[in-house]
């Protein structure tokens, strides 16, 4: 299977007043294309830190990615991190230079985030800005990343302009169009509102089309410009040399500052009936419909506080999907929701995976949700990956004592007679984690080796790896 995302030896730490929190220690896993990878663990095990590290959203200070690799296809998402770390940790040069490096890399990640990897959070309310309508927020996201797409649609529509005019002059209704205008027309016909309204609508379309033609040149220029930027970004993501990368980033940063696209965003807010705006609105509506929001047209005009939790989570998912990301990271997407609403959202995620082929990383503490959703599961404990296995294998043949304990400590609605097993103790303090295996103070099988030696990751069967001294076999790393 093709790999969508590879995380290798990821190490993230937080430098706070009490000491250094070793939040992630050698986290390694792979996300395959089109699969749902579940990351499961308790509070403080580093699930969310992993997600934030992948998104490069770790707040600095106090957090910092120390080392590791994250690759998305051929693209190295950790690019620049060594440079940053070097600057911050060792050399401490002039602040100006330091800021430049960070700013440049920041631009690179802004392009990745939202466009190639999207993330949805536990609290949908916190992810949305309360002073803008749902529509504004979706369009903003489209604007930031998919301008080229919109411009292309407009261009193709404007190419049909002459057809439209001749069609109007001939006075016939029912001609066939294979573009946007055509579908609009057929929609109207379906409404059977009579010839008058069709004609009226046609007038409107032609009006709009005339506006098109007036602005056509401008749009074409914009499109060219936008495609150029896209090319640059594409290049940036690929393998380029240090020198070239810096120059591309500086060009892009400059573009971002002065760009016409930015000015267009302002226009959008003025509700200017610009074709770009109406196209973006249409796109937003289509997105909301794709996440099964009933009455989507109404919802677009609503403010976040007017919507229920489940509806908000759908809106957040719609925004995350606005640019057709390859990878979707869902951090506890249903924890704040009721069970019946949770069922709806899980259904939606399943559909996403099936219809769009999005690879999903599903982070949750709920082993039930993981069992329903995930193809493969990564179990984390205290910043370590302790076990990775296909979902079936993990639930029926768990290896690591922590996984076993976790599975046995869930009350089972399908088997109430089962006695709850208790993992004694609590998650350790990550400032001074236990030496050797971090699970050893709570493990009932712990022996002297566990207290001193960090267990290697061992492959016990195809695709099933476990980091525990109890098992012997081929060392994976």
């Amino acid at each position: 299977m093709e790999e969508a995302l590879v995380v290798k030896n990821l190490k993230t730490q937080f430098f706070i007043y009490d000491g250094v929190v070793k939040a992630l220690e050698d986290v390694t896993f792979t996300l395959n294309k089109g699969e749902v990878l579940g990351i499961v663990g308790e509070t403080g095990c580093g699930k969310s830190v992993t997600a934030f590290s992948i998104m490069r959203l770790i707040p600095d200070p106090p957090g910092r990615i120390i080392s590791g690799q994250i690759r998305m296809g051929n693209y190295d998402l950790m690019r620049g991190i060594d440079q940053e770390a070097e600057i911050i940790l060792k050399k401490r040069p002039k602040i100006k230079h330091h800021n430049n490096v960070i700013k440049k890399n920041e631009h690179f990640y802004n392009k990745i985030r939202g466009r190639y990897i999207s993330m949805i959070f536990q609290e949908p309310m916190a992810a949305l800005n309360p002073v803008y309508t749902v529509e504004d927020q979706i369009i903003e996201s489209i604007y930031l990343h998919s301008m080229t797409k919109i411009l292309k649609v407009i261009k193709s529509a404007s190419e049909h302009l002459p057809d439209l005019k001749s069609f109007r002059e001939s006075g016939e209704i029912g001609a066939e169009f294979n573009d946007e205008v055509g579908t609009e027309l057929s929609k109207i016909k379906n409404l059977k509102k009579g010839k008058d309204s069709v004609e009226k609508h046609l007038d409107m379309l032609i009006d709009e089309a005339t506006k098109f033609s007036e602005k056509k040149e401008k749009y074409e220029e914009l499109l060219k410009h936008s495609i150029e930027i896209d090319d640059l970004e594409e290049k940036l993501l690929g393998e380029v040399g240090e020198q070239e990368r810096d120059s591309i980033i500086s060009v892009l940063t400059k573009e971002a500052k002065k760009t016409k696209l930015n000015r267009l965003t302002k226009k959008l807010k003025k509700k200017n009936p610009d074709p770009i705006v109406s196209e973006a609105r249409r796109e937003a509506l289509a997105l909301l419909e794709s996440v099964n929001i009933p009455n989507a047209f109404q919802i677009l005009k609503n403010y976040p506080h007017e919507l229920s939790g489940g509806m908000l989570q759908r809106v957040v998912i719609a925004i995350a999907l606005s640019n057709d990301p390859q990878i979707l990271i869902a951090d506890e997407p249903t924890t704040a929701l009721d069970v019946t609403i949770q069922a709806q959202i899980l259904e939606l995620l399943r559909d996403l995976k099936k219809n769009r082929g999005t690879s999903i990383i599903l982070i949750t503490h709920d082993l039930g949700v993981i069992a329903e959703m995930a193809d493969r599961v990564v179990v984390m404990y205290a910043g370590n990956v302790v076990e990775t296995a296909p979902s079936l294998e993990l639930y029926h043949n768990p290896k690591h004592p922590y996984t076993i304990g976790l599975l046995q400590s869930i009350p089972r609605v399908d088997d109430p007679t089962k006695k709850l097993n208790i993992i004694r103790g609590t998650v350790p303090n990550l400032i001074t984690p236990p030496a050797g295996c971090r699970f050893n103070p709570r493990c009932q099988f712990a022996f002297d080796r566990c207290l001193v030696e960090v267990p290697p990751t061992i492959e016990t069967s195809e695709g099933h790896t476990v980091a525990c001294h109890l098992f012997t076999g081929k060392e994976v790393r």
């Binding site: 308790e42 509070t43 009933p294 229920s308 489940g310 509806m311 009721d338 069970v339 019946t340 609403i341 949770q342 069922a343 709806q344 899980l346 259904e347 503490h365 709920d366 082993l367 039930g368 949700v369 993981i370 069992a371 329903e372 979902s391 079936l392 639930y395 029926h396 304990g405 976790l406 599975l407 400590s409 869930i410 009350p411 089972r412 609605v413 399908d414 109430p416 709850l420 097993n421 208790i422 993992i423 004694r424 609590t426 998650v427």
Partner: protein, 391 residues
């Protein structure tokens, strides 16, 4: 079933919605609407429902922490008389509650034993009941040492004379000095904490430990009844298992009665003897735990049960995904409150409110089509049955 510990009749709690410049009452949130509830001594009653269903408000009203709009609460009542009262009340409200509000008040208000109306009863009642909250962060005063947190209810209420037993009539003693310290120490040791923990502030503890402290505070006065309001919802599963087993042990030792409020059906199944399902302020189904999970009758219960994620990828079952959201309790749907999301809804559901009726032994449901559903549907929505068919 054994002796009745608590009986609530016709409990309603409407929260006014204030608005406008003058602060007029624009309407009411029907948080709890006409609930009759019986709690037997020594049992664990699970109350389950989604957010906004009124389960938390019910817990507060039962403990007399907030005053209900109407209703009566009896503590260890005379069984015969209280049942008679309930019958009278049901008969009265059967013909449409609005017009009969006055008479209803007459029946519920004049009874001497009604805790909501009697000052002396209320004070005595407060010393016998306790509550444990969901959020262990905000439920402990951040500026108090753990020692003082746990000692607070003891200082106010004293403890039953004979340690460990609360005969319900016995006078209470106030502890002082060394004795009080020893008493607090005994309690925390029982919770799995040590003396050192007594001299710390709440923020120095993990979520699980804080919940232990909250339970210690509740159990310190040796209450007879504890409302557990989502006690494990904020905790990790491994810690949840610890807390659940602690609660079980305490129940055995002190013979205390629990009302366990949660949205987590798996936890409900693990701890409770009897389950009450609530939807928009109403009880829709009530049965013994196994009965409810194997033969859920109300369409809402069925959907709830089918929505529980089960930690077993091989477990296949019929998925009943409810459409839409829970309607606002400020403006509940007419008739059966569930009819907007119900897959069996017919005309009658939107006009006539279904009464709670006993469908099977001890199994009470509020649905117009309960009998039909029992005949045709339950076999496929109960959790045990599906498991067998899956194999």
């Amino acid at each position: 079933m054994s002796e009745i510990l608590l009986k609530a009749i016709g409990v309603r709690k409407y929260f006014p919605i204030k608005g406008g410049i003058s602060g007029r009452t624009l309407g009411y949130v029907h948080a709890v609407d006409d609930v009759n509830l019986t709690i037997y001594k020594g049992e664990t009653v699970g109350v389950v429902g989604e957010s906004g269903c009124g389960k938390t408000t019910l817990g507060r009203v039962i403990l007399d922490l907030i005053e209900p709009t109407t209703g009566a609460l009896f503590y260890k009542p005379d069984e015969a008389s209280v049942n008679q009262l309930e019958g009278l009340y049901t008969e009265l409200t059967a013909n449409g509650a609005r017009e009969l509000k006055k008479e209803e008040k007459k029946i519920l208000g004049t009874t001497k034993d009604n805790i909501y109306k009697s000052r002396s009863k209320r004070k005595d009642f407060r010393s016998r009941v306790q509550i444990v909250f969901q959020d262990p962060v905000s439920s402990l005063d951040p500026r108090m040492l753990i020692k003082d947190v746990i000692a607070e209810p003891i200082r106010i209420n004293g403890v039953p004379k004979e340690d460990g037993t609360n005969d319900g009539t016995g006078a209470r003693v106030r502890l002082r000095g060394e004795v009080a310290n020893k008493y607090v120490l005994d309690i925390v040791t029982e919770m799995g904490l040590n003396e050192d923990h007594l001299y710390r502030f709440p923020h120095e503890f993990s979520g699980g430990q804080r919940q232990r402290i909250a339970i210690a505070r509740a159990i310190a006065v040796k209450p007879e009844f504890i409302v557990l309001d989502e006690p494990t919802s904020a905790l990790d599963v491994s810690v949840q298992a610890q807390i659940l087993s602690l609660l079980k042990n305490l129940q055995k030792k002190y013979n205390v009665t629990y009302m366990f409020i949660t949205h987590n059906l798996a936890v409900i199944r693990a701890v409770s003897n009897r389950v009450i399902v609530m939807y928009l302020g109403k009880i829709v189904e009530e049965a013994l735990t196994d009965e409810l999970f194997e033969f859920p009758i109300h369409p809402y219960t069925q959907a709830l049960i089918s929505a529980i994620p089960i930690p077993d990828p091989t477990f296949k079952r019929q998925r009943l995904v409810l459409s839409g959201d829970v309607p606002s309790p400020a403006n509940p749907p007419s008739g059966c409150r569930f009819h907007t999301r119900c897959r069996f809804a017919k005309e009658i559901c939107s006009t006539e409110e279904p009464k709670l009726k006993e469908i099977r032994a001890g199994h009470i449901v509020a649905c117009h089509f309960a009998e039909e559903i029992l005949k045709t549907e339950t076999s496929s929505s109960g959790i045990k049955k599906t498991r067998e068919t899956a194999k």
